[in-house]
């Protein structure tokens, strides 16, 4: 107990040193100089909390965890539960937009974009075990493919969508080809480098991409060739004229939502089929033991490349849809933080678990919208959650149950 108190005291002093220069001593500017406005309450409160936690809560917590670790388990989904929960989620998603307001549908569309991205990255990180920190680069490629094709060639969304996926896939293939022989953490850094290079190029190729301002005025997708807008361009009929409806902005939003839902479902369907195919099995095998795979005659580079490219294609689709929904693209939307957010969705959900990814995408997108008054603290808590998740549950909220055989 005495040693406990002593170490708690040391921890409290260290907490004081950590908090004081950031929260205790505010830098205030006065004319040409700066001075300090001390505020010791926060420092003392922080120190007190750390002391209490270290001295009393933590030993108790450890005892509690060791007592319960035998009996307490978070749910692990098996095949049947997974299928059931996915069906339920789809059913809710289908009827959802007709019962809620405009803002909710808008947020739900955003959630669906993140589900699409999360499922795409899940292939790369979750199944193939390749930590890709530059995923947002492929998202950007998709978004800019549509934006540029519209801007320079006047292409519509539906013609540009396959191109966006194709371009992102080509980028993924070309970038993946040289880097995939690198080991895990080097790969992470190189992909981060690629993501940043793509963003910096978008900023600097001013003549083509509009630089930091980006490209605006990108049209929304059409419905069977008819624009969904208040007024149609020369010689075209708008969708609501064709149907004989009044124009309603809500229709456009619901239409976008349903399209996002369709894209997300395609992503879900394709990825959940692919992981049951030989190549999907090979991804997982490779993640578990690369050397064993090589000895069994699998070609690691090709297998990794297929995962990397496929993830990139989904990111490209997501990007094109993002561009259509926003109506404008600029490099600001494709920073490293976005990559970290998508990665957090995959990690929080449980790497390799599709239901988990969907759940995490909902949590991480909806929570910040609900807790608007805490917007300031959002990113800080986000970082903290990433650290804590790695400590307590590195396998994620709803990890996937893998088919396996045990010797008894």
């Amino acid at each position: 107990m005495a040693s406990n108190i002593k170490s708690a005291f040391i921890a409290a002093v260290m907490a004081g040193v950590i908090i004081a220069p950031v929260y205790g001593l505010q830098i205030v500017r006065s004319g040409m100089e700066t001075h300090i406005e001390p505020e010791w309450d926060l420092v003392l409160i922080g120190m007190g909390l750390v002391f209490v936690f270290q001295a009393f809560v933590r030993p108790g917590l450890a005892r509690l965890l060791s007592l319960r670790s035998g009996t307490f388990r978070m749910p692990v989904l098996n095949d049947k539960a997974r299928r059931g929960s996915i069906m339920l989620l789809i059913a809710i998603a289908l009827i959802f937009p007709f019962f809620t307001g405009r803002a909710e549908v808008d947020i739900a569309t955003l959630v669906l974009i993140y589900i699409m991205l999360g499922l795409g990255l899940n292939i790369v990180v979750g199944f193939a075990g390749l930590l890709d920190l530059g995923f947002v680069g492929f998202y950007a490629v998709g978004a800019y493919t549509y934006a540029l094709l519209y801007h320079w060639a006047g292409w519509g969304f539906w013609e540009a969508l396959p191109m966006a996926g194709l371009m992102a896939g080509i980028f993924g293939y070309l970038l993946g080809f040289p880097v995939l022989r690198l080991r895990g953490d080097y790969l992470a850094i190189v992909t981060l480098g690629f993501g940043e290079i793509i963003r910096l190029l978008l900023i600097n190729l001013y003549e083509y991409t509009g630089g930091p301002d980006g490209i605006s005025g990108i049209p929304k997708p059409t419905v069977f060739g008819m624009p969904m807008a208040r007024r149609a361009p020369e010689g075209e009929t708008t969708f609501h004229d064709f149907m004989g409806w009044q124009f309603n902005n809500m229709d456009v939003i619901i239409y976008l939502y349903l399209m996002a839902l369709a894209l997300a479902l395609v992503t879900l369907l394709v990825s959940s089929r692919v992981i049951r195919m030989p190549v999907g099995r090979a991804w997982e095998a490779l993640r578990e033991d690369e050397i064993a795979c090589r000895s069994l005659g699998l070609n690691p580079t090709n297998i990794k490349l297929s995962a990397f490219t496929m993830g990139a294609v989904f990111a490209g689709f997501g990007g094109a849809f993002f561009a259509a929904r926003q109506g404008l693209v600029n490099p600001e939307s494709f920073t490293f933080l976005e990559s970290a957010l998508i990665l957090a969705i995959v990690v929080l959900g449980g790497m390799g678990s599709q239901v988990g990814v969907i759940l995490a995408a909902i949590i991480l997108t909806v929570l910040p919208e609900v807790a608007r008054e805490f917007a300031e603290y959002r990113m800080m808590i986000f970082g903290l959650v990433m650290v804590l998740m790695m400590m307590w549950r590195p396998q994620g909220l709803l990890p996937m149950k893998r088919p396996h055989v045990e010797l008894k």
Binding site: I27, V179, M391
Partner: protein
């Protein structure tokens, strides 16, 4: 004398002072990687926090208090080093130590979370906007060569001098002290060192502390030279310093110094002779190319993958 030689010298000086900063940060990456094989993604944030602590110290003393400038700078450096040492120690204990021995990607993800946390920790505490740092050292050394004048601001000369002094001290410490010897043993073989009675946990903490202190010095010096800082300067600087560490050969301390200087020079020359907008692209491309063609860097030893 042709015009381009003094211009070259000017760029060389600029690159050297920038590279010195990269080298100071890169040492933290390389030492940590050398011992526990993880990329401490939050290291760039330590550099940023060092700069803030320096500014807090400066503001607490007051520029016009009448203390000699050298003493003020010394105090800033010492306080920043002490505080970031605690940061480095605590980060390792909280975010990395519990994860040791698990899969390699787990601590990396935790480090990314830590990095995001620290950026916003400071952004909320001290404000997210640019903060001006009062100019302590003004003036510049000017050397005329032919028609061209080379300008070397004293604040940048100080960066180079302080860095050289610290590098020599670090080198001697690692070479001759007990802790330094132990940390070299750990970087050769962590488990073996443990079996031979070295407290490896202590050595790992020591590595984080030393790395943090050097990064803090870099932060304080660059804040004084550039005159402004914000909570998000650590990300880019951290990535670039990591590039420097990889360039020199990750795990090798002289390699980090060399890599830092080379990266600084490459960036400055790219900015001067290609386009200043492309200097970040040059740094990132360099990172990609080294990892592709010579992942062991200039002075690193190849890593053997064992079953």
């Amino acid at each position: 004398m042709p015009e381009f030689i003094p211009q070259l010298l000017q760029q060389f000086f600029n690159g050297l002072s920038l590279g010195a900063i990269y080298a100071l940060i890169a040492i933290g990456y390389t030492m940590v990687y050398g011992i526990i094989g993880m990329i401490n993604f939050a290291h760039g944030e330590i550099y940023m926090i060092g700069a803030y602590v320096g500014l807090v110290t400066l503001s607490a003393i007051g520029v016009s208090a009448g203390l000699p400038v050298a003493l003020i700078i010394l105090l800033m450096l010492i306080v920043a080093m002490l505080v970031t040492a605690v940061y480095g120690y605590a980060i390792e204990k909280v975010a990395y130590a519990p994860l040791r021995g698990g899969p390699r990607l787990v601590p990396l993800i935790s480090a990314i979370g830590m990095s995001i946390f620290l950026q916003n920790w400071v952004a909320i505490g001290q404000g997210a906007r640019d903060m001006a740092v009062p100019a302590l050292i003004t003036g510049a050394l000017q050397v005329d060569i032919g028609d061209y004048t080379i300008t070397a601001p004293y604040s940048r000369i100080m960066i180079i001098l302080v860095t050289i002094v610290l590098m020599i001290m670090l080198h001697l410490y690692i070479k001759h002290s007990r802790l330094g010897r132990a940390s070299r043993a750990c970087s050769q073989d962590l488990r073996m060192a443990n079996l031979l009675g070295i407290d490896t946990n202590k050595i790992i903490s020591f590595t984080f502390v030393v790395g943090a202190m050097l990064a803090a010095v870099g932060g304080v010096l660059i804040a004084l030279a550039i005159g402004k800082l914000n909570p998000f300067i650590g990300f880019l600087a951290g990535i670039k310093a990591f590039t420097a560490a990889v360039l020199g050969g990750i795990g090798s301390i002289p390699g980090a110094m060399l890599g830092g200087v080379l990266l600084g020079l490459a960036e400055t020359f790219a900015a001067a002779y290609i386009s200043s907008q492309y200097k970040d692209i040059v740094a990132f491309s360099l990172l990609v190319f080294i990892l592709l063609f010579r992942p062991t860097g200039l002075l690193g030893k190849p890593e053997v993958e064992k079953v």
